[in-house]
Amino acid sequence: MRFAFSDDQKLFRDTVRALLEKECTADVVRRAWAADTDGRSPALWNHLAELGVVGLAVPEAHGGLGLSEIDFVLLLEESGRAALAEPIVETGVVGAPLIAESANDELCAAWLPRVAAGQARLAVGLEHATFVTDAHMADLLLLQHGDELHALPREGVKLAAEDSVDGARRLFRVAWSPSPATRVAAGPAARAALGRAFDRGALGVSAMLLGLARHLIDTTVEYVKVRKQFGSAIGSFQAVKHHLADALVKLEFARPVVYRAAYSMSRAPEAGPLHVSMAKAYASDAALLAARAALQCHGAIGYSYEHDLHLWMKRVWALAAAWGDASWHRARVGNLVLGS
């Protein structure tokens, strides 16, 4: 039993952190909101591909690193910390492995190398998910139809945009019709792969939520150290201290739950659904609490649109609701532990 990351994994995290601190500043996140643009940065996406992040889970044979969720989780945490708006979860965490697991060699060879190289973005539309994020930028959409996985190019579907409270997120309803020509896989194996895809997505956003929460706590700590009222830094008031301490406790206990879920997805898949649901429940609640504490401790300034705080806060609200919210995942844990 050893519950810690390897030096290589930590080094990779530090590299990605350094890149994002330089290339994914608050201004970059704000630019992703611009309604008159597609909201995405090819340059940033290329940087991530060059580092191997995009193709991290792509088999080496197809030009990826052939690594697992355990290697991904710290990088996704950093992505959340920087409020990265690029579709790393959809393309790298969910889409690529789904192709690798379900598609024939031809399709794999056609797409995985381009994904790993940062030349192709993937979007994923699973059962019960009303919205497909970043469909507007997707070169290939992976869509569930019952027990079947279908793959369509963007030209093959109709998109209707929906506005998210987080302007950096681009949501779409996708209208499409399944056909034998679009079918990639079917039957129990496909159903199982689609189930794993959902759990990978939930795990991915859980890791991002950890990073988002961490950033919200850190920036709030910095603010309350300098903001003065009644002649003292408000960070010296016990109520403010306890808001932030509570947020930190919740985050610190969510972290190992998320890491364990990553471990199970790659080493003990049968436990994946249970452990991923715990992860999404803890990460969502921890991030929502951090957002509440951050806004309350910032006061009016945090309530203003010009301040960066809301960029992170709104990402939290969106990701806490996406891929199953906390109560949905707790209900799933309940069914697995207590029986339905």
Binding site: D163, R169, A239, L295, G299, S304, A321, S327
Partner: protein, 387 residues
């Protein structure tokens, strides 16, 4: 104890309900925190005024109908029940007017109140400054005596002026005696936002609307007739309004009863597949709105019988602001993935709740943060030592 409404109260309710049913716009107006929405809301205020529903509790001479506090509560309940538009006149009516009634001269009242009630003049509050938020006594903006012109020259900066980008006037505190400290030496001024030396900078709000403004004042002249109360006595004059801001006047139960009703509706639409845990949260939210109304009826009865609203207005503020957040959190949980939809453009029910959530999150912050309110309760109601 008689928890049934009297025949006259019931008649008042019927009249209000009938008028609102006939006159409340069928389609909701665009947000009053946008330029075009503001103009439409101003028209609506005039319509309320012409029917004498704008300020029901005021004297007739200023456009009211001298309704009792209980009748005012009934009107508010009916107003929210009918889905009436947001009241952009509220900062004037609820924050400034009570102070005017208490400290204003007859000339001031005659000049200001009717135009305020009719929406011809709309008022923004000018309390906060960059370094004076919860700590209002930290105000730095100054008022310098100008004997030659018979008034004062104002300098400084005010922040978080609600709808300040669209309002006509501002009321606020300025330091008139530079020697005095903290709560002393401030004067309460009424300022035209079109006066020379005023710069208004709109500030976007969490939900994207230009809900706030920063107001910069550079040698803005204000004549003596626009001083409210005694010079240097502004703090005591202002406290009357801040306590009514914290008190029941701004937060009538009607608003929360209506929100709870919408939440129950949302739950019943989703009932079959709604998580039973959320059912309990819906029940709690519904009960809290009821409890808040009961608490308010108790307070109103006390006030009508000569009692005062003191520090317990802090108890009230903590309850409604945190209830409002919980109610919206429950709605968002019911919406699941649709919770993230933005009210701005989405037709989905979800959007309205997310916008409402962002609005609710301001509750525990403004009009004295809930941390300050808890201190007030502990120190002034329970008598715990300040240090």
């Amino acid at each position: 104890m008689d928890l049934d409404y009297s025949p006259s109260e019931q008649a008042f309710r019927r009249e209000a309900r009938a008028w609102l049913q006939a006159n409340v716009p069928k389609n909701p107006l665009p947000s009053g925190d946008t330029a075009e929405g503001f103009a439409l809301h101003r028209k609506w205020e005039k319509k309320l005024y012409d029917a004498r529903w704008a300020v029901v509790s005021w004297p007739e001479r200023y456009g009211g109908r001298e309704a009792t506090l209980m009748e005012w509560l009934i009107f508010e309940e009916e107003y929210y029940r009918a889905g009436g538009p947001q009241r952009i006149a509220q900062n004037g009516i609820f924050l400034l007017a009570p102070t005017l009634f208490e400290f204003g001269t007859d000339e001031q009242k005659d000049r200001i109140l009717p135009r305020m009630a009719s929406g011809e003049d709309l008022w923004a509050q000018g309390w906060s400054e960059p370094n004076a938020g919860s700590d209002l006594a930290g105000i730095k903006s100054t008022a310098t005596r100008d004997d030659a012109r018979g008034g004062f020259r104002l300098n400084g900066q005010k922040t978080w002026c609600t709808r300040g980008a669209f309002c006509d006037f501002m009321f606020g505190l300025f330091r008139s005696d530079p020697a005095a400290e903290r709560h002393r030496g401030m004067t309460y001024f009424l300022v035209s936002l079109s006066a020379p030396g005023i710069t208004v900078r709109p500030v976007g709000r969490l939900d994207g609307d230009a809900g706030f403004a920063e107001v910069f004042l550079e040698d803005v002249f204000v004549p003596d007739r626009d001083v409210l109360g005694a010079v240097h006595d502004g703090w005591n004059v202002a406290m009357a309004t801040t306590s009514s801001e914290r008190g029941l006047t701004l937060r009538s139960p009607g608003r929360f009863l209506a929100a709870a009703a919408r939440l129950v509706e949302l739950y019943c639409q989703a009932k079959d597949h709604a998580d039973p845990v959320l059912r309990d949260h819906v029940v709690k939210a519904w009960m809290d709105a009821e409890a808040y109304q009961l608490y308010t009826l108790q307070t109103v009865t006390r006030v009508m019988e000569g009692g005062a609203i003191g520090a317990e207005s802090s108890i009230n503020k903590i309850f409604w602001s945190e209830m409002d957040v919980r109610t919206h959190e429950t709605a968002l949980a019911l919406l699941g993935e649709r919770a993230e939809l933005d009210g701005g453009t989405s037709a989905e029910a979800g959007g309205a709740w997310m916008k409402g959530y962002q609005f609710a999150l301001a509750g525990p912050i403004y009009a004295g943060t809930n941390e300050i309110q808890r201190n007030v309760i502990a120190e002034r109601v329970l008598g715990l030592p300040r240090r």
